[in-house]
Symmetry: C2
Subunit: 121 residues, 2 copies
């Protein structure tokens, strides 16, 4: 599922379905500089990932968005969100960079290989 969303083409596809609702393949293909069978393959990947469902309507297939699998991504993200909120990471990056600017032997710190200490900001 992460792999399905990793493709810019497929993210765009999901975006179109999100904004415009269910659409047949042809109409989706108009938005891309790509032949229709390739789009069909991308849609198959999305379907296998459970991100779209296909519904037959006459001679066309309406594809529509099914965002549930994205909850998994949202859940995966959560602890990282917490991390970047707790640590104010951009500031921490700055401190790390300055730390990197002191290449001399820092014998006062000991350079413990097992743990990095949580230092506040």
């Amino acid at each position: 599922m992460f792999a399905a969303v990793a493709s810019p083409t497929r993210r765009r596809l999901l975006g179109l379905l999100l904004e415009n609702g269910p659409k047949p393949v042809q109409e989706l293909a108009e938005h891309f500089d790509m032949r229709r069978p390739s789009l069909s393959e991308h849609l198959k990947v999305l379907k296998d990932a459970g991100l779209v469902v296909e519904r037959r309507a006459g001679r066309q297939r309406l594809y529509s968005l099914r965002p549930e699998p994205l909850r998994e991504m949202s859940a995966w993200l959560t602890p990282y969100e917490r991390f970047w909120r707790e640590r104010l990471s951009s500031l921490r990056d700055l401190l790390d960079a300055e730390d990197d600017d002191l290449p001399d032997t820092e014998d006062d710190d000991g350079l413990s290989s097992t743990e990095d200490d949580d230092r506040d900001v």
Copy 2:
């Protein structure tokens, strides 16, 4: 960046850095059934995506998590989150399935608000 996170190996790597803090390559490699150079390549991908930073410490390189780029993923997710919360999609899936099985029973009409924008251009 989406591509960087698409790999299970790299997600695991990020998870290790999240839980255990900065680590040298060797110690990370112990958790994988993979040779060290391959891990190095995965770390390079993560570094190019801005998801980790490398800090030289003697003869080892400490890799640490930099979660900021994940905000982009979180932002991308937002409208879909809204979508799945608004539409109670799992219920909708059930109704769609029954609708597909019994095409003549249209006793529900509360969820058909999106069907009108499916029109040719």
